[in-house]
Amino acid sequence: MNRDRLRRLGFALLAPVSAFAFAVLISSLALWASGNDPFTAWREMLAYANDTRRMISIVNRAIPLYISALAVGFAFKMNLFNIGVEGQYQLAALMAAAVGASVDLPGPIHVLLILVVAMGVGAGWAGIAGVLKAYRGVHEVIATIMLNAIVTTGLLAYLLGNYLRDRSETQILKTHDLPASGRMPSLNRPLAAIGIDVPQGANLQGFLVIAILLGVAFYVVVSRTRFGYDLRASGVNPWAALASGVHPKGMIVKTMLISGALAGLVGMSQLLGFFGRYHQDFPTGLGFAGIAVALLGRNHPAGMAVSALLFGFLSTSAQILDLRDIPKEIIDILQATVLLSVVVSYELVRRLVAASEVKAAAAATAGAATQPAAAALSEEGDR
């Protein structure tokens, strides 16, 4: 039994590890083709990360990626593809920053209000896609693509330029700064308390605590509650779920609302812990990166945490490449290749596992079963 479990874990790890190895190989080829030494590049990146300041930066970069992956992964659990996280978090960050700057409340309540606004806006924007899917049969991918485009091509600029802008600032387009009560403290003091020397200027973002809590909540809700069971059942077989009393339309809308609410929190670590305002250069692309993180981590809260840290490491360590005259954009190529190859390798490993199970079953029943039955089984496994 124990050996079996170990084997299964081995298979589970085989896919992401081989996918990542393949992506490194492809990127190495790209580096080599453009006249750079890939070994130097990877060695420099590893050496660069080995430092407290950069470790903190890795974790800080991993936080939004992780939350984005949770948002995507939650919808995946029900076979819904929320590629609208990108638009949801940007709109949520803008609205939350604007609301947060316009009120003055005592610390924790202020932060809570900002988070609630962000979750509400994210949920509302994703909810449009959920309602369209449930009641009008519009595919959620198309709906969220269009909703993304509405946000990024015009709505942000319109709202920021006309209504939410800090007019005292003429040079840049930004919202008013959040007051101190709307900011989130860093975790430097707890770090110091456990004996880690935090270098000057580095701040481990306090939002990390919320990210961890969200990961735990994700696990509990999906794997340990009735709702999570209904969610997964609807994803696997909506008809069977309906037969057991799950209303599929309501489930779609609820899932999109929760996914959107999580998406609303993606920009919060940077808003509350770093920028303190929304502006034109607010980070973009976190929603799409979250899809890669979710797929690499196989929608499991722990797996997604590992892959978020991996992506955080890549984007932090990429900085050294520029200093060594190696284009750091190689990281984008690496990440896209990971995204593609991880899905391919899951599929290949699935076929491998199916084949090995068929073989094991055939061996176990070799005495009793007749040959044609085993042959039919193996054909089934090939699919």
Binding site: I83, N148, L339
Partner: protein, 429 residues
């Protein structure tokens, strides 16, 4: 074979092409008449000027090419969200080719770049059975990353004016022509009269507006636009009137039925998806050569997604895609040229919606009639109570239109039956 072609009974199949084309023309005709009336009422001459239509073509062609690209992929059953990435590859390779070799070489390399993206998409989705959406998202990230990487490798520190986010200036361009007699082009050095331009300048209702539209189509027309516009009838011919086109569509309607008839579905899907990328790549090259005259990061501005919108708006048909692209390109042209003309567009939408509502009520489809009627009243009020339309609204008009079409006209849309479904040879039941 009729089930494979997916158009129902043979009688319907035979009747369809005869009915479809006039309807598209009727719609365009009605649109122009309505535009011309609005032009007079709202006193916005730029609404139907040759310049506006000419700009609409320039801005609409990349959308058209992306949409046709989406059409070829989805007709063979592969959803292509990666159009944006393929468009980006087209812009980079197009600019690189134009800078290194020349204009038409740039076009060819742009096509090559897009086709490369299509090939990756085909390998992932067809050979390895990767989810089409995941692969598309990856290609969008990959396209942007590759363009940036290649820019750094080829242009940074070379002293040619290029850098990490833009190419050196493209100094070559594609020849432009004015059609003789219609738009005042010259034959052997003799300048022919600009007939359409003359008529358009008279500002007669409808007649001058039609002349403006045709003048926009025939005057200062780049050969590349001409090629792009020709691709619409070419796609109709290829997909609906050749055996290969039928096989390609059969892979998107019912791959297992196609397989049982001896069609190599994998090959059809590869063909469709690579063509899709090539078309998007051509769109990218067009953006560089006919638009900015330079490659710039972010230049595609989501046009791949607008192409997808045009594809849905056009009900997965080349003529429909062309109409969608024309409409979205026209809205974009007005946004850039003239804000008061944009305001007049509100009146256009209000009147068009009111007519549609009347027709629906006449047809006893009261619910939709009421919804469309409410939209008409809303736009009417908006027109009367405002002086300008915020520029940003027009940039997401295509996307809102698509959501509305999807929400209220789903019954009339017919995507290929096996669009986006996984296919493995011999996997039918």
């Amino acid at each position: 074979m009729t089930t494979v072609s997916g158009t129902g009974t043979p009688a319907v199949h035979a009747a369809r092409p005869k009915r479809k084309l006039p309807r598209a023309m009727i719609l365009v005709g009605l649109g122009v008449i309505l535009l011309s009336i609005v032009r007079v009422v709202a006193d916005a001459d730029d609404l139907t000027s040759a310049g506006s239509f000419s700009a609409a073509i320039r801005l609409g062609v990349p959308i058209l090419l992306a949409g046709l690209g989406g059409l070829f992929a989805e007709r063979c059953g592969v959803v292509n969200i990666g159009l944006e990435g393929m468009l980006i590859l087209g812009t980079w390779f197009g600019a690189w080719g134009a800078v290194e070799f020349g204009a038409w070489e740039g076009v060819l390399l742009g096509i090559f770049g897009g086709a490369l993206g299509g090939l990756i998409h085909a390998v992932a989705t067809v050979t390895f059975g990767v989810d089409h959406i995941v692969s598309g998202v990856a290609i969008n990230i990959l396209g942007a990353g590759m363009a940036r990487y290649l820019s750094v490798v080829s242009w940074v520190g070379k002293g040619t004016g290029g850098g990490a986010t833009q190419s050196p200036k493209v100094t070559v361009d594609i020849a432009k022509v004015d059609v003789p007699f219609l738009a005042g082009g010259s034959i052997f050095g003799w300048d022919t009269p600009d007939v359409l331009g003359r008529i358009a300048s008279w500002r007669w209702v409808v007649i001058s507006d039609v002349a403006g539209l045709l003048r926009g189509l025939t005057g200062n027309l780049s050969l590349l636009s001409f090629v792009a516009l020709l691709l619409v009838p070419a796609s109709v011919l290829f997909l609906w009137h050749t055996p290969l086109g039928l096989r390609l569509r059969s892979a998107g309607e019912n791959p297992y039925a196609a397989e049982s008839l001896g069609v190599n579905v994998y090959r059809m899907k590869y063909l469709g998806v690579i063509t899709s990328g090539a078309l998007a790549g051509l769109g990218g090259a067009f953006l560089v050569l006919e638009g900015a005259g330079i490659y710039r990061e972010g230049q595609t501005g989501g046009r791949g997604f607008i192409g997808l919108a045009a594809l849905i708006f056009g009900n997965w048909r080349p003529t429909g895609v062309a109409m969608g692209a024309g409409l979205f390109g026209f809205a974009d042209a007005l946004r850039l040229r003239n804000e008061s003309a944009v305001h007049a567009l509100l009146l256009f939408v209000a009147v068009a919606a009111a007519l549609a509502a009347l027709w629906l009520l006449f047809d006893r489809r009261y619910r939709y009639g009421a919804v469309i009627g409410a939209i008409a009243v809303g736009f009417g009020i908006w027109y009367v109570t405002s002086d300008t339309v915020p520029r940003q609204f027009l940039s997401f008009t295509p996307h809102i239109t698509t959501l509305l079409v999807l929400a209220f006209a789903t019954q009339r849309l017919r995507p290929p039956a096996a669009d986006g479904l996984p296919y493995r040879k011999g996997g039918g039941t």
